[in-house]
Structure formats: structure tokens, C-alpha cells
């Protein structure tokens, strides 16, 4: 039986980032992935023959340059089809609002009345976000004692915030735990501009713009200035780059290898058993699954009941679905230029509408007026489709995990129809051009990726589940109490989105401990 220094469960971006980091440090690593391809939530899927589309995640925002360099992702095929996508917020009256790094304006070039206030708000939040971003690259501060080095870096952070000046410091503290609704509407009128900006505060979560703490979530998304990039070859290609980096570093990756359970001896992890009965021995196991699933695989009895209770109570109700369409031709949104078509099309008409949409989701109902983030990746990346067709990728916010009538082909189709009907009002003719559709409900996302509740981030990204409270108090430093067992998924600090940072942080944490003795 082969023995590994570390076994990584799951070949999503975090699992692969962890594997690349560990292998790069000279450890003998194997990654076990139950699916046939890497990616987890960042994979491509053929909607129909010749129509390749990002199945779940479709944009990159938080993957930072340091991470790309550290893992060498650019050397393994990471490339962008388009960078700094403009965000186009669709409006029923045809006055779509475009925002990008340069500023905001109506789609036809006309000036927006709230331009000045909005840009000031955005700039301020981006400034704050940059300060907070420093917290992401390191493990969160510990609740049970702090080392000198950490204290120093936290001190620097506090000083950094203070040095923003009196006004900014006061404003930072005022909005830190506030909600997106109040903070945004303090500055601008409710409408498509506010909606598009607020979308980043709720996307992927079971939260509405009025939920407490959504400003923090928004700042998290603004860490890289809020830029969104379209990867060449879809998210699948991004994952191939992560995979390439891990392999180049020396990690072995096995697909179709579902872990059935872990082996724990004398309070120490010694390996895993696959669904087919194969035993793989390893001194460390890094699980990119959520804490509850990880603890169940290791055996609930190895953890204190309080720890299990905390893991059981992590809020991770997914509220985001995906509708992917294969189109016979390019969609034509009325009033948008070619360049704007290539952007990030958002339908979030107002914060009030978003909050209402969230209400329906809370009670298990499908949306009537869906909140959407849409890309047509094939416009910038023609390689995704063969022939003249196009693929449209729509993230649908506020779709309940626990749908009242249950998730079936019928309810999936109903959701696809709702989305297509909504898009049809902006892009007449789109409905007739639909060749095929592919719907992933939160339940489907859970089934395919193992993410609890189909939640993007394996746990809500709200203040009480962030930093040293992520994923739960007592396990905020990646290590679980069973020696050699670590969490490395997006349930851990700093959390969700395709970044690989939790994986890298976890790998660094595991590298600090000596490898345990191999069980004979």
C-alpha cells in the first residue's frame, strides 16, 4: 500500500491549491476526487454537443495576483478571454446602467445623476476592502491565544485603518457590520445602479441586501477593486491550470476516487478508505469538504459533541441556481453595444426588488422576477462553441435549496422558463434561439460537489461566520482536533469564491506540523 504524506480530498480550486502548495514544499501528495474532472464548482459542461459552458461559477474576481504567481497558474494555462468586464445593469425602461473601473453611465453614454455619489461610495468601500484584504492571506487570529508575529500584523492592520484618517476610520467602523441596503441607499437612489452594486453583497448566499453584515460581504468582493474577469476556456480551464500547477509540483491526482471514510487510530488520522474499498494511507488528510461532512467521514465519535453541534449549525443554505443556455445565435440585448454584450449583464432592478425576491426564496418558492448575473462567454471566447451558436451562463440568485414542490425536472424546467422569459424582455428573439438548457438547482450543486445546501461558500459569508468564527470557533486554524486532519475548503477562512486561498492557508498550517508516525 502506498503511503502519502498528505491526502487531499476534493480537486476543487482549494483542494488543488493545497496540493500544489504541499507538493511544492516537498510533501508526497495525492488528491482524491469523486468526479471525473477537477473543479468542484468551477467546471465546464456541454449543454449540447458543441456547446461548452461554465456549469456553475463563470467569472473570476477574487483570484489575486500573488496567488496566481505563487501557484504558477499562468504557466499552466490560466488566461483571460476578457478582463475588467463592464457591469451592465438591465432596466425595464431600457435605460441600462453601465459601470466599470472608469466610472458609470447609461448604456447610451448619457450621464447618470448619481455618478458622483456612487463613485465616492465605491471608492471608499474599495479602500476599506484593501485594508481588510490583508487579513485574507494569513490564518485568522486565533481565539485561544495569539503569537507575537500575529499580534504585530493585527496591530499593523489597526494602525492602517487608523491612518486612513478620522473620517474614513469613523465611516469604516460605522458600515463594517451594517447592511448593503442602508449603506448604498444612503448615497444613491434605489434602482438598477444600486441593485447591480448590491448584487455582489449577496451573490451565492442566503441573504438579502437588508441582511446585517452584507457590507462586509460586499467589501470582501471588492478586495481586488471589484474587477471581474472572464477566463479563456471557461472556469474549466482555470481548474485545469490549478490541476496543472498541482501536478507540476508533484502531486498525484486520482479521479473517480470517492472517499467513503477516514481511518483514525489513537486520535490520529492514518489514511482513508475509498468507496471501492481501496485503502490509502497518509499522515495528513486535508479535506476541502465542509466541516460536518468531513467529521462524518472521520467518524462523529472522534469529536466532542459541542464541536459536532457547531458544525451542524453552520448556516449553509444555498440560495443560488444556475441556468445555462445553448443558443443558435448571438443574443441581442436592446440598447447594448457589442462590447457591452461581452460584459457582465446583471438584472437586479432595485434593492427593494432583491429583498422581495429573497422573501420568496425564504418560503421555498421559485422567483417570479429573477435576480440574474449573466455572461455570454462565447462572445469573447469563441472556442467554447462549434459553429455559429453561443452559450449564455446565468447565475440565478434567490432560488431556494428546499423548494416547496421539491426539485424535479419539472421544477428545473420551470426555473429555466422564468429566466428565459425574463431575458426575452431585454433580448427579443432569445427564447426562440434556445437550443438546449441546463439547470443546476442548489440541490443539484450539493449533489455534484458535496457543498452543503449547494452553498457556494460551504457556509454563509456573514460576520458571525467569518475570520476566527469560520467555519466555527475552535477549528478556525484549519486543524481539526484529530491529529493530522485539516479543513482546506471554502468553509474555512477567508472563505468562498474561486481563490484557492483557503487551500493555500490550510496547506501552510499543515506544513507547520511534523508528520505523524506511519501506522504499521
Amino acid at each position: 500500500m502506498t503511503h502519502f504524506d498528505a491526502i487531499v480530498i476534493g480537486a476543487g480550486h482549494n483542494g488543488l491549491a493545497a496540493a500544489a502548495t504541499l507538493a511544492g514544499a516537498g510533501r508526497k501528495v495525492v488528491v482524491l476526487e469523486k468526479n471525473a474532472v477537477p473543479g468542484g464548482m468551477a467546471v465546464n459542461r456541454a449543454i449540447a454537443p458543441g456547446f461548452d459552458c461554465p456549469a456553475m461559477a463563470h467569472l473570476l474576481s477574487n483570484l489575486d495576483a500573488a496567488e496566481v504567481k505563487a501557484l504558477g497558474l499562468d504557466k499552466h494555462g490560466l488566461a483571460h478571454a476578457a478582463t475588467d468586464l463592464p457591469t451592465v445593469s438591465l432596466s425595464a425602461d431600457g435605460r441600462h446602467v453601465v459601470s466599470d473601473a472608469k466610472g458609470i453611465r447609461y448604456a447610451d453614454g448619457a450621464t447618470h445623476a448619481d455618478e458622483k455619489q456612487f463613485l465616492a461610495l465605491r471608492a471608499r468601500l474599495v479602500r476599506f476592502a484593501a485594508k481588510l484584504a490583508e487579513l485574507k492571506r494569513n490564518p485568522p487570529p486565533s481565539l485561544t491565544g495569539i503569537e507575537w508575529g500575529e499580534a504585530l500584523s493585527l496591530g499593523k492592520l489597526a494602525l492602517g485603518i487608523r491612518r486612513m484618517g478620522k473620517e474614513d476610520t469613523r465611516e469604516f467602523l460605522r458600515v463594517l457590520l451594517s447592511n448593503a441596503y442602508d449603506t448604498i441607499l444612503d448615497e444613491v437612489e434605489d434602482g438598477p445602479l444600486a441593485g447591480a452594486f448590491a448584487l455582489d453583497s449577496v451573490l451565492g448566499g442566503h441573504i438579502g441586501p437588508r441582511s446585517p453584515g452584507t457590507v462586509l460581504t460586499l467589501m470582501y468582493r471588492l478586495a481586488n477593486g471589484g474587477a471581474k474577469h472572464l477566463p479563456r476556456g471557461g472556469m474549466g480551464a482555470v481548474m485545469r491550470a490549478f490541476e496543472g500547477a498541482a501536478k507540476a509540483a508533484g502531486a498525484e491526482i486520482r479521479y473517480g476516487a470517492a472517499v467513503a471514510r477516514m481511518i483514525v487510530e489513537s486520535d490520529r488520522i492514518t489514511g482513508v478508505v475509498l468507496a471501492d474499498g481501496t485503502e490509502i494511507s497518509g499522515a495528513q488528510v486535508l479535506s476541502s469538504l465542509d466541516p460536518k461532512t468531513t467529521m462524518i467521514l472521520a467518524g462523529v465519535g472522534h469529536f466532542d459533541a459541542e464541536m459536532i453541534r457547531r458544525a451542524r449549525n453552520i448556516r449553509s443554505k444555498g440560495c443560488t441556481a444556475k441556468v445555462n443556455l445553448a443558443l443558435s445565435g448571438a443574443p441581442a440585448f436592446a440598447g447594448l453595444s457589442d462590447a457591452q454584450h461581452r460584459g457582465r449583464l446583471v438584472y437586479a432592478p432595485s434593492l427593494a426588488a432583491m429583498e422581495k425576491a429573497f422573501n420568496r426564496a425564504k418560503y421555498g418558492e421559485l422567483p417570479t422576477d429573477p435576480v440574474l448575473e449573466v455572461t455570454v462567454p462565447s462572445l469573447s471566447d469563441p472556442g467554447l462553441v462549434e459553429g455559429d451558436g453561443h452559450v449564455l451562463s446565468a447565475v440565478v440568485q434567490y432560488v431556494p435549496y428546499a423548494l416547496k414542490q421539491g426539485w424535479s425536472d419539472e421544477s428545473r424546467k420551470a426555473l429555466a422558463d422564468i429566466v428565459v422569459d425574463c431575458l426575452e424582455t431585454f433580448a427579443p428573439g432569445l427564447k426562440a434561439s434556445v437550443v438546449a438548457s441546463h439547470v443546476m438547482s442548489p440541490l443539484d450543486i450539493e449533489t455534484e460537489t458535496g457543498a452543503p445546501g449547494g452553498h457556494w461558500h460551504h457556509g454563509e459569508m456573514i460576520a458571525d461566520q467569518m475570520l476566527m468564527l469560520r467555519p466555527a470557533p475552535g477549528i478556525e486554524r484549519y486543524a481539526l482536533p484529530v491529529a493530522g486532519l485539516y479543513l482546506c475548503g471554502s468553509s474555512t477562512h477567508p472563505g468562498g469564491d474561486v481563490t484557492g486561498v483557503p487551500g493555500c492557508n490550510a496547506a501552510k498550517a499543515s506544513l507547520q506540523s511534523k508528520l505523524g508516525r506511519v501506522a504499521a
Binding site: D267, I296, V300, G301, H302, F303, D304, A305, E306, M307, I308, R309, R312, G474, P481
Partner: protein
């Protein structure tokens, strides 16, 4: 507006106030003192006549104490043993079937949540009797395991039959086979009625567990049988004297159950309660094991010790000093033991007192003397528990007194 008063038709959605146990209507006529206290929502006797007479009945006759208010939980199913071993610190796998074991259970920090008696009927069937409610905690412990947890507190009534003539009472009542029952053994007397040779007095004694609807029948069989053996009902006060003599600790008195402690520092590990023998590190993981492993290495912060104190003034709530000057801890339970003829106490001492420093201990006792408080500084020495020991407790077959 919410109406907190009973409604006119007397129908309330929830039970209000204290209720009688299934033995209540039999016990009530014996109460000359009318001295009742609440216990887990039930009316319980503090004493029936005088504490002294009831105490001496425990040590010289036979007594009945109504333990129906005790919380009782059935843990049954395929994983019952695994769940019980996850809960308690002792190794339930080493217990025989139909045996009872004194147990404590801890939280994740290794602090004692409660103590109680664990009844093992088989690998798949246990009962836990405890002072504090444990229903939700048991569900936390059992999550992920194939067991069912049932709160039997109301369904099962209990009587503690304790004292040297207790076996004679059972014999006279016609219960057969009890003579073979060893200490901590369990046997079924008839469907819905089990007996265990257990108790809180350190004396010969039994506990009878009966389906609540059969409580009347049990009383009617037992009470007449006790006529010639001095059987009498007793209240909490007399029992508490016997339990201190027996050296048993009481939750909320000698230690603070951690789930009720507002201050985490009040939590105590089993080691700090002198219960090292109850912690089995070789049975696999159990709740609090990692914390207890660390606690064992770190050593106890406090120690619950048994003290014999000079003089005869009970040292209840007294401070304990080292060298008459340095405060070392406090007394948690105390009495002048009429049977041992010694002044006894349980006390919690702060390390190193009671651990490496065990001599030169003094107890500062305040006592009222006809309207005037007086103070004595009495010397104390640490002695072994139990204070009261008697061979009749464990003799099998038991003596016919």
C-alpha cells in the same frame, strides 16, 4: 394581552406549579412537618417528622425515599453502547449486563456536566439517572448514531428502600430472588418493576423502579411488609446526612454542573473531584477526552477532599486555611456524624492544598450561640472517603436484621 392566570375552564396548555409524584398520595399523610421542597418540578419532602429520627432510621431500620423526580433516560438501539461510552468517562463496555455504574460526564473542556447512575441492561439498552435534565445534551451526544433517547422521568417512578432491615422488608413483601442480588446488580421482579441494589446512603439498600401506573400496587405491597422492620418515609435532609457520611458528592453542592455555571472557571474535571478512577482513557474517544488528557498532564487546579475536623461544630460553608492564615479553600458539605461520631466535611481546596500540601489545615467555623455568633478555628485533617463503612452494605446474601 397574555393571560397568565388559569383560565376559567381550568384547561391550560402546559402544566403549572409543582405536581405530586405517583407516590405522593401515599406519602402525604405521613407528613407531620408539612416541610416540602421542589425537586425537578415535583413536590418532594424535606422531612416528614424530625430529621434526626429519619436519619437514625436510615442507619438502624428501613426507610423509603421517593426518587421519582430523578431524571431518567432510556438509551436504546444498535449504537447504545457507543453512545453511552461517548457520553460518560468510564468504560461502559466493561460493565456487565444488569449492572449499575456511578458515572460522570464532561463537556468539551473536560468539566463535569453532571453525575448519575448508569444502568446497563444490555449492550443495546441503558438507562441514565441524573440530577439535572440531560435530554438535549443526550441528543447532542447521540447525533450521528443509531439510538433512540427517551425521557422516562414521568413514566417510571422510583423508591429508595435503604437501611439495615431493607432486605427483610423485601423478603416480607414476598419478593423472591433478591437475596442473590449483589451490590450494583439489577433484576426484574415482575413486568414493569425492577430493583437495583444501589443507593445514596452507603448502607444496605435498594432502589425500586416501577412503571408509574403500577406505583400504587408497589406501595400497597411494600408498606405493610415494613411494619415489623421500622419502615418509615424520609425526606431529603436525613438522606443528605447519610450521603455525606457515605462520601458521595452532590451536583450543585460539591461541584457546579458546568452547564449551569456562568463562570467557566467554576467547571471541575473529574480529577479535581477525586474521581480519577472513573476516567477510562483506554476506551477510545469520549466527550472531553482531549481536554482531560491535557488536564491530567497539567494537574488539578483544585481538589475536593474529605476532612475530619476537631470539635463537633458542623463546618458548613466554612473557609479552610493553611497555617491558620492562608486561605486554601472552602467547605462544600459538612455535618457532625451521629454514627461515626466525627465532625466531617467535604471541602474544595485550591492547589497546592489538598494535593502536595495536606497538613496544617484549619477550618474557620462560625456558629450561632443563642443569638450570638461565635467563631472557632478548628484543625482539620484530610482523610479517606467514605467516612461511613459497614460490611452489611455489600454482604450477599444480605443480613436479615
Amino acid at each position: 394581552m397574555t393571560n397568565h392566570r388559569p383560565s376559567g375552564d381550568g384547561v391550560l396548555p402546559v402544566r403549572r406549579g409543582l405536581v405530586e409524584t405517583p407516590f405522593g398520595r401515599h406519602l402525604r399523610p405521613f407528613s407531620l412537618a408539612e416541610d416540602w421542597m421542589p425537586w425537578a418540578g415535583y413536590v418532594s419532602a424535606r422531612r416528614f417528622e424530625t430529621v434526626e429520627a429519619e436519619y437514625f432510621a436510615i442507619r438502624n431500620q428501613a426507610t423509603l425515599f421517593d426518587i421519582s423526580p430523578m431524571h431518567k433516560y432510556a438509551i436504546t438501539g444498535k449504537d447504545a453502547l457507543a453512545v453511552v461510552n461517548r457520553l460518560v468517562t468510564r468504560n461502559a463496555a466493561k460493565m456487565g449486563d444488569n449492572r449499575v455504574g456511578y458515572s460522570v460526564w464532561c463537556d468539551e473542556d473536560g468539566f463535569v456536566i453532571d453525575d448519575g447512575t448508569l444502568f446497563r441492561f444490555s449492550e443495546n439498552s441503558f438507562r441514565l439517572c441524573s440530577q439535572e435534565p440531560q435530554y438535549s445534551w443526550l441528543h447532542d451526544i447521540a447525533w450521528g448514531f443509531d439510538v433512540s433517547i427517551e425521557d422516562q422521568s414521568e413514566a417510571i417512578a422510583g423508591l429508595a428502600l435503604q437501611g439495615p432491615t431493607s432486605f427483610s422488608v423485601l423478603h416480607a413483601a414476598g419478593f423472591e430472588g433478591v437475596e442473590k442480588l449483589k451490590p450494583f446488580g439489577i433484576m426484574e421482579l415482575s413486568p414493569g418493576l425492577t430493583i437495583s441494589r444501589t443507593g445514596f446512603t452507603g448502607d444496605l439498600g435498594y432502589e425500586l423502579w416501577v412503571d408509574a401506573d403500577k406505583a400504587d400496587a408497589l406501595w400497597e405491597r411494600l408498606w405493610p411488609a415494613g411494619r415489623n422492620f421500622g419502615l418509615r418515609p424520609i425526606g431529603y435532609e436525613a438522606l443528605n446526612m447519610a450521603r455525606i457520611e457515605a462520601g458521595f458528592i452532590a451536583a450543585g453542592v460539591d461541584f457546579q454542573p458546568i452547564h449551569h455555571a456562568q463562570r467557566p472557571s467554576r467547571g471541575r474535571t473529574p480529577f479535581e473531584l477525586g474521581l480519577d478512577w472513573l476516567v477510562s482513557f483506554d476506551k477510545g474517544y469520549f466527550n472531553g477526552r482531549r481536554a482531560l488528557t491535557a488536564a491530567r498532564q497539567r494537574g488539578p487546579r483544585t481538589m475536593l477532599v474529605a476532612l475530619e475536623i476537631e470539635g463537633h461544630k458542623p463546618a458548613q460553608d466554612a473557609f479552610v486555611y493553611h497555617g491558620r492564615k492562608k486561605e486554601a479553600g472552602h467547605v462544600t458539605s459538612a455535618l457532625w456524624s451521629p454514627t461515626c461520631k466525627r465532625n466531617l466535611a467535604l471541602a474544595e481546596l485550591r492547589a497546592p492544598y489538598g494535593i502536595s500540601v495536606t497538613d496544617d489545615l484549619w477550618v474557620e467555623i462560625y456558629h450561632p450561640k443563642e443569638g450570638k455568633w461565635e467563631k472557632v478555628m478548628a484543625q482539620a485533617k484530610i482523610i479517606e472517603r467514605p467516612f461511613f463503612k459497614n460490611d452489611r452494605r455489600s454482604a450477599t446474601p444480605p443480613g436479615r436484621f
